[in-house]
Amino acid sequence: MDWYPLWNSLRIAGISCVIVFFLGIFFAYYAAKLPRWIKGILDVVLTLPLVLPPTVCGYVLLMLFGVKRPLGIFLAQFGVKFVMTWYGGVLTAAVVAFPLMYRTARGAFESFDDNLSHAGQTLGLSDAYIFWRIRMPACKQGILAGTVLAFARALGEYGATSMLIGYTPGRTATISTTVYQLWRTNDEAGAFTWVMVNLAISTVVLLAVNMLERKQ
């Protein structure tokens, strides 16, 4: 059996999750400080991928990064091509998972007691120290929840991924695209195996989160 889809899915979900983690926190932190109306607009734009059908996201990404589109041509000069490559999968997973991280992190930051950071400032602590050692630990639950949701969403991403990077065994195949491909070609046993693999990963992730939470 070819285990490539497992490895590819984990790498796409892992990398996009790391990207989304930092981007989500960055936007969540700065969005909270913006004037109300800008925040409202930004909120809509940043949350859109969550409510749009993934195929629509895939369509928009193709319009942007397609090999004949300006951005695609521009990136091609640096040898970066998102269409039909495994790291194109990182892009789609990141776009689709981003709103989950952004929204949960923002919720966590909004419930943070600002006086804690004010107290840190009057004690002479640097803003970076306050952010990483006081704000982040206080918002740990929300951040962790957002990360897990983003990872799960990235791992299960199908629609946008299949549009942008398609299904090429050994190159762009992920677990979800493989399940569909095998089922379509009447390989029900093969599809079943990958379904079980996916179930196993999801269960392990959720168990790990539960254990982390109980430890606190």
Partner: protein
Amino acid sequence: MGLTVNIKKKLGDFQLDVSFETGEGVLGLLGASGCGKSMTLKCIAGIVKPDAGRIVLHDRVLFDADAGICVPPQKRGVGYLFQDYALFPNMTVFQNILCGARDKDKAADYIARFDLIGKEKLYPAQLSGGQKQRVALARMLAAEPEVILLDEPFTALDNFLKARMERELMNVLEGFHGPAVFVSHDRNESYRLTDTIAVMENGAIVDISEKHALFRAPRTLAATLLTGCKNVTRLERLADGSYQATDWGIRLQAPVDDMQENATGAKPVYRYAGFRAHFLMPETQGVTATIGTAVEQKQLTDAGSCNRLTCEVLREVEDTFSVVIQFYQKGLNERTEYSLLTYETGKEDWERMKAQCAGRDIVLQIPPDALIWMES
């Protein structure tokens, strides 16, 4: 030397415009919630940036809008005690104090000084209210601030704990050499802990003076109400030189400085008057009151028909050690929000008074000295 604050800040419809100066000792900011007390502290600490003005601490400019100076909170040397103490929940007692101390030996020293030995490894959630305050105080003082700001530290506490923590704070304030600003909406608390009190209303200081003077003779209506005076009235000056207390429905004898030029050459015209609930004197059976000094009794006789209240009792509210009588002036037709008066006295005194009057109206006199006169 000391702290000089002169700032303006607009926030929506709210306008903060505060200026004061304080040296060593405790300045109280007394005001109802939303009057801008905490905002003032936040501006001094550098958490909120004023629109205009200047803040100077010991010849060091912390903020100057014209010169474009705004020292970040980290470099101001300001200690801030928050209402809920703002202890870092993810850090132990020791780590919290270390944030202020920056040095393990120093942190250990403060642990010992604030009676926290054995609690070093506990988290804030595991501490009692009193311990939390000690950690917050230790953390603040370990950073060696040049001025300390206290933002309603006792608001959420029950009375028993409050009294104990107040004593601890007094110890800290006595040992601190520098300006301190204490914000509160509680007049008793402010009176006990401060030396000078500034009364705030709608973002501005309406009265500032040494605390004894402030409570004896507040100069504005806002200050009078905030220092706990429950009986106030609007005034109208009458042709015979006395005043009509329009809300109470009686006449008041004019104070001795009425229409007299004061030090600044202005002639005061009084617009409000008030008296404290326990300063009334009973007048029974036409005989002069049995309470009060000879001088006070003489003043009462001089006052004649002025300053007399004939009680129409609404209700008697029994307190722990006293009784509060809520009443109107008898026969007052137009009742306003200030018409209901309160008189506080000992329970036995009140019973005796009622027995003496036996069916007749109870008459209370306001000693002229007890009246607070206000121009604004």
